[in-house]
Amino acid sequence: MTTMNDCEAFSATHIECLKKSIELTFSFNSKNKLQFSTKNNDSTLWMNEGIVGIISLVGDLSWSVSLGLPKKSAITFAKQFAGFDINYDSEDMDDVTGELINVLAGDIIAKLDAVGTSVYMSLPIVARGNKMGIHVPDRLPKIQLHCTLNGKQFAISLTSGKFHQRRKNRS
């Protein structure tokens, strides 16, 4: 089950594009189906030791896509993607995380393009550490998807650059 926060800011087509792109990127070389799950209404996505990839999409819309990979998941998905083992503490792990978010964003762009939405993507940024949080301002529309494949979890956060309008008449 997919749980979203502020999902009204994203069309059903956008959400479907995102989920299909996640499946293509992470189910690559895996026979098992990816599961979307978990509820998270916080504006910060927390993670213990792990690695984060971030990419921006700009054009007809303004989005930021973040990938949060806990350490064990990073090792698993890096090997699945590259076809060979990659040491977690190596620069290659940063490299492959950048590539994963790059492939994900590239596929989102292609799917958006097919429905008439034109966007370009930035180069990826990768960060790593302990007790990390991907934080977006409270008022920004966002979707947080927690995903599981072969027992390994990761999170995707999609944030729109458009602020929600504050209601003028608050009771």
């Binding site: 076809g83 492959v96 590239g106």
Partner: protein
């Protein structure tokens, strides 16, 4: 087996390794590789050494893959050199742009050895015919 000098261009070292490993696994040719980390680095290498085939990412810093192909094609004698874009950017617009500057084929990331092989069979086949015509010999 056909011997091919391949230029592999990607800002990701992991991707370059993936491309090279998968190319070896296709068994289509005996490849020797030169790596470049962006279009600018690739152009320097392309201008001083002869290559029979080029694999290039689109999304790179300093000089992207499309700009590289555009500049590389300005060099004489490149008509028989296939430029294969290996990319995560698979919009029609991007592919059209790359084709217009001289890219011959596209391989979308992520890819398997089998997908790479299928894409390369006609290209390598054509290169084999070019090689037997003596074109590569004339490059040396």
């Amino acid at each position: 087996m056909l011997k091919l000098r391949a230029l592999v261009i990607d800002d990701s070292r992991v991707m370059r390794n993936m491309v090279m490993e998968n190319l070896k696994r296709t068994g289509l040719a005996e490849f020797t590789f030169t790596e470049a980390s962006d279009g600018r680095d690739a152009l320097r290498k392309f201008n001083v050494k002869k290559y029979e085939i080029v694999f290039v990412d689109i999304h790179m810093p300093h000089m992207d893959g499309i700009e590289f192909v555009k500049n590389a094609r300005k060099k004489g004698g490149t008509a028989n050199i296939p430029f294969i874009m290996i990319t995560s950017e698979k919009t029609i617009g991007k592919m059209t742009e790359a084709s217009e500057v001289g890219a011959n084929s596209f391989i979308c990331k992520p890819f398997t050895t089998l997908e790479l092989r299928k894409k390369l069979v006609p290209i390598i086949d054509r290169l084999g015919k070019v090689a037997s015509s003596g074109f590569f010999h004339s490059l040396n």
